[in-house]
């Protein structure tokens, strides 16, 4: 079981729990504002953009080349940016804080 906290653009904090699947799916299931996941999680739409809170990046690892290519063209992307459809919910993710970009 991993607890994941989303901070939305209007500063609302939402902590949710999950055991499997992608972080995007978990966010959509819990109606986290700003996470649309239009493509269902195949790294095609970039509507699940989050920025990992500094200090938590060791929990999420780094983006793949295809994910980086998508993020490269996002005006709001920075070094902490990830597409959360590419983050799997695992024990290792427990406690991670993600800032929703949109």
């Amino acid at each position: 079981m991993a607890k994941i906290t989303f901070i939305t653009k209007d500063k609302e904090e939402i902590t949710v729990e999950g055991t499997s699947g992608s972080v995007m799916e978990l966010a959509v299931k819990n109606n986290v504002k700003g996470i649309d996941g239009d493509c269902g999680g195949v790294c095609s739409c970039a509507t699940c953009h989050v920025q990992v809170d500094a200090g938590h990046t060791d929990k999420t690892g780094v983006a793949s080349e295809i994910e980086s290519d998508m993020l490269e063209l996002d005006d709001d992307a920075n070094e902490f940016s990830r597409l959360c459809c590419q983050l799997q919910v695992t024990e290792a993710m427990d406690g991670v804080v993600l800032n929703v970009v949109k």
Binding site: G41, V42, C43, C45
Partner: protein
């Protein structure tokens, strides 16, 4: 090509070859002439994405109709909105229509769509051979469009009567008479909604303000032309081609019945593979370069979604349908600011269709067909079928 030839028998009916591969690898672009206004087609995924994103150098807010390939400059002067508007104004229009076009995610909407599609599938199962484009896909697209506009179901009969294309006819790829049928119809509908507002899309637009100004009837018409034209032959091709695919891959349909959780991935993959819209243009605002190729100011480029979606730099086995492809960064719905407004509706149509076929259909047999081949300079692209007769049997 009404009947299958020896060569066609070797290639499956549902196989859609990639005509761009060699040019994509060797040059990265192709040059085509379109009504004396040439277009440089960009073929690589990264170039296509970067071009779509760079709205300052590659604009959409050009002469109405010019960014479309084939150009529609000769048949309309009304600007399609928000499609032919650039940032920052684009955002205001997009923000206005976006929530409406996300309604297909609502349960009630999906339930209504499921009813429409189930009824239609039952209808074709009860018949013998059917011509899928006109007897299935056109009806499905038209009937589902009543949901998107939130107007009475019966209105679909009018659009079914128009045939598959709103701008195209057998004789011409841009048919002004045919376009005028749509334009006159929209004028009537807008006037009707102005007099008697209801909870349909026309009325919403007529009562909306963008940038502190009330939407004009012409602006409303611009949004509606886009809604009608953008989702017409694209959805019809996606539906027809998916049926052809399942006819020749019955195990895939069985798998989707057993693993309904992969339907979302299957939709993305079918849309990538078929890429119902071949490409979309932009007008260049300064001398520039893409993949070392010089592109002149005030000329046109197109972003070839169909080619980008087979780019082996991003897709393993790009010419195969991998139903549960996990990483699928396709651009079949476009990319960046102008990505397809109707994508949510289109995705929902395909999801509901696949679920319904998986639950109700036992076998699909293709009887005969005529391929729809688009010619773009040196490239001949199969985009779908002009007609295709199938026998669809229930479980």
């Amino acid at each position: 090509m009404e009947h299958q030839t020896e060569t066609q028998k070797k290639v499956k009916t549902s196989e859609f070859p990639d005509p761009f591969e060699q040019a994509r690898i060797e040059r990265g672009y192709g040059d085509i002439d379109d009504q004396n206004d040439p277009v440089t087609m960009l073929l690589r995924l990264k170039d296509v994405r970067k071009t779509a994103h760079n709205w300052k150098t590659f604009i959409s807010g050009a002469t109405p109709g010019r960014i479309v390939v084939p150009s529609e400059v000769a048949i309309r002067d009304i600007r399609q909105i928000p499609f032919e508007v650039d940032p920052p104004e684009h955002k205001d229009y997009r923000n206005l229509v976006e929530p409406w076009f996300k309604r297909p995610l609502e349960e009630e909407y999906t339930a209504k769509m499921t009813k429409i599609i189930e009824e239609l599938v039952d209808e074709v199962i009860a018949k013998d051979d059917i011509e899928v484009v006109s007897d299935f896909s056109l009806k499905l697209q038209s009937r589902c469009l009543t949901l998107l506009l939130n107007i009475p179901y019966e209105e679909a009969e009018t659009w079914i009567g128009w045939g598959v294309h709103v701008f195209r006819s057998e004789e011409s790829s841009t048919d002004a008479d045919k376009a005028n049928i749509l334009f006159d119809y929209l004028d009537e509908q807008i006037d009707r909604a102005a007099e008697n507002p209801s909870d349909d899309l026309y009325s919403l637009l007529l009562s909306s303000e963008v940038n502190g100004k009330k939407m004009t009837k012409e602006e409303v018409k611009g949004v509606m032309i886009l809604t009608f034209a953008g989702g017409r032959d694209t959805v019809i091709n996606a539906v027809t081609n998916s049926l052809a695919y399942f006819a020749e891959h019955p195990k895939s349909l069985e798998r989707l019945r057993q693993e309904p959780e992969i339907v979302g991935k299957a939709v993305e993959e079918l849309v990538r593979y078929f890429s119902p819209l071949t490409h979309m243009g932009r007008v260049v605002t300064e001398d520039t370069k893409v993949c070392e190729h010089a592109i002149k100011n005030d000329s046109r480029v197109s972003m070839c979604w169909a080619s980008a979606n087979r780019d082996s730099a991003a897709f393993e086995n790009p010419n195969e349908v991998v139903l549960d492809r996990k990483i699928n960064p396709h651009v079949a719905f476009g990319f960046s600011h102008h990505n397809c407004l109707g994508a949510t509706h289109a995705r929902q149509i395909l999801k509901v269709l696949i679920n319904t076929l998986a639950n109700k259909v036992g076998s699909i047999e293709i009887k005969n067909y005529k391929e729809n081949i688009e010619e773009w300079g040196e490239f001949n692209r199969k985009v779908g079928f002009d007609n295709i007769t199938m026998n669809i049997k229930g479980k």
